[in-house]
Amino acid sequence: MSLLADVAAHALDEGYYEAARRRGISPPGAAQRPAIGRFSATIAAVVLAAAGVLFATSWVTTRQNAAAAARDRAALLRSIESQSAVVDALRSRANDLRAEIASARDAALSTSTQGAALRAELDRLSLLTGATPVAGPGAEVTLADAPRTGDERTDALGTVYDRDLQAVVNALFASGAEAIAVGGQRLTATTAIRQAGSAILVDYRAIAAPYRIDAVGPPDLAARFLATQTAALYQTWQQVYGLRFTVTARSRLTLPAAGTIVIHYAQVLSRPGGS
């Protein structure tokens, strides 16, 4: 690399050699007096001082930038943690209040026959909409990714996506399920199962593998589900790609409540003929 050798050989500015030649000294003469005139000495000193200022400024600027970046990151982390804590506290408070309201309402309604009928209707509707916990026989279906092999293509084929959970949920409803919870999240009329990047979100909450789908329905729900095309498909994929798929019948499953459903646009239609 003659270019690099050239750079290294001419590391000292040629100007020094030429100035020395002009003054009649043959380089390198270690014991010569350096040529420093009075005026140029001042300028050289000023230039050196400027170099010092440059070095110091650069160092200070770099440290300030690094410190600022670290401060911003720490502030963001603190903000995330505190806001998450606030959200968790509010959520548990909302659950407590909901339970309080439910018990107060039940107590108020049980004081009259009309109230008792209303309460029965309310309980039935709450069960259907997912507003109360529910228990009963049913089936438990578990899906999980195939073990990683390292080959990208086969790994992608063995990964569980939102459409897999959606297909299983649909097949369970078709088999007679009356209430379903995915990953501990109760499904309601407004619950979506969707993919966000590599995570599956149920009702905007991320759930982790293995994905557990609990369905309350007829006691033979598991058998009915296994007879569907969807179950056959997933059993095939279990054999071909190693996707993990298990179906278990359960004599008693408990599904949690979904929390309040907020309705913005849907309105109750007044029934013709009153009532």
């Binding site: 750079v7 020395a20 003469g29 270690a30 001082a49 200022v53 070095f55 110091a56 400024t57």
Partner: protein, 110 residues
Amino acid sequence: MIPALALAIGIVVGLIAHPSVPAGLQPYLPIAVIAALDAVFGAVRAMLDGLFDDRVFVVSFIANVLVAALIVFLGDQLGVGSEMSTGVVVVLSIRIFSNAAAIRRHVFRA
């Protein structure tokens, strides 16, 4: 001694005052620093070789800094800014290393 003193005074002034660099010039600060280092190392070596000339030092310092910044600025305009910057840093670093080696030979042999 006076040059070393001038450098030290400059550093102290820079630390105390710390002038804020205008945002437009901030990307060229590292290149200017390396070019300045190259000129200073060259001056020290010239001093030890008995070749020092203060006029040459002043001119080489200013020219080094300006040319390095200009090359990187030109590179930025043409879209090769980071590559130009790398090239300038490589060349100046080789020069700094060579001058430092010569200084080391002077200090530890003669």
